[in-house]
Subunit: 187 residues, 2 copies
């Protein structure tokens, strides 16, 4: 797997193999009190959302327990839907060191479980997701959610964090489906 991915940049023009290798893609938008997740299945009739939601942790819940809740939920999702690849939100705008530390903690709790389950993990910047989904890097959250709803033919507008997670999964597919010039970064 690793060889195929690392060798992609060079061979991308000829062999867009990624989407065939992965049938179930997990998207994760990590945050301490509201981690969004979304699972899409890649069938012949296009991508289909099979799970989505938010790991909600109230402000009174201790930080370590929030992190446990994140890892527990992701473990359950992976066990249930058996994704083989995960797209996680990458470089972001952090106001300060403290915010970055907290966001890092949520990411760490998620990544440890994902690596344990043997998923390939790719990092995608929020700006890239917005560009891929809405066509505009500074798009608003609601625009992303609406586009995700349309692309996955969802009856209801997904909740913001879940929509971001589904958008990450869809972006991964987009980036690796076509003649990938600038694929997601493996971490």
């Amino acid at each position: 797997m690793q060889e195929r991915v690392s060798g992609k940049k060079r061979s991308a023009e000829k062999t867009p193999v990624e989407p065939l290798a992965h049938k179930v893609v997990l998207g994760i938008d990590p945050s301490l009190r509201g981690t969004g997740y979304g699972v899409i299945h890649l069938g012949r009739s296009g991508p289909k959302a099979v799970a989505q939601g938010t790991v909600k942790c109230g402000s009174k819940l201790e930080r370590s327990h929030c992190l446990h809740e994140i890892s527990r939920t992701i473990r359950e999702i992976v066990h249930k839907h058996q994704p083989t690849v995960c797209a996680i939100e990458g470089l972001f705008y952090a106001q300060n060191v403290k915010t970055a530390l907290t966001m890092g903690e949520a990411r760490g709790a998620a990544l440890a479980v994902l690596a344990e389950a043997g998923l390939e993990i790719f990092e995608i910047a929020p700006r890239k997701v917005k560009q891929s989904i809405v066509g505009y890097g500074n798009a608003q959250k609601i625009a992303v959610a609406k586009m995700v709803q349309r692309m996955l033919v969802l009856k209801k507008l997904p909740a913001p964090d879940a929509a971001d997670a589904l958008a990450l999964a869809l972006t991964f597919v987009h980036l690796h489906k076509r003649f990938a010039i600038d694929p997601a970064q493996k971490i």
Copy 2:
């Protein structure tokens, strides 16, 4: 447990109960490529180190795999030594947002496992550890390691990261043993 801890500030002058509640203390100094850990046992003849080491991850290992290695190792230690409380390095000096994110990830991977195992988790600032162990908040790492060696009667000087972890565990005991005016913060 929670009540006893949260009520400590008020009743600390009369009832220094913490050290009796915990017989095995785990110290963790998290970092992506070199997480230090140390377990001390509190017996009648004073604290004794029962385990110490570093989770080493080479620079070529993918980040997510390092995080998995951290969580896997901590899970093993907890299973083997059954600590009931963990002292983890708290507020630190981070050069920038990126460093903070990476350090946060290592913390998150560790904290999720610790919370899952039901340990009480306390955060102690590095400065406080140095003050408690060496008596000087800006003490050098080697001074901390030498003092830890003396306090725990170790034959060899512990490795830097393991020494920091053992120092965290010892500081937790110090802070909660006496008439705690400024105990560690539960997270």
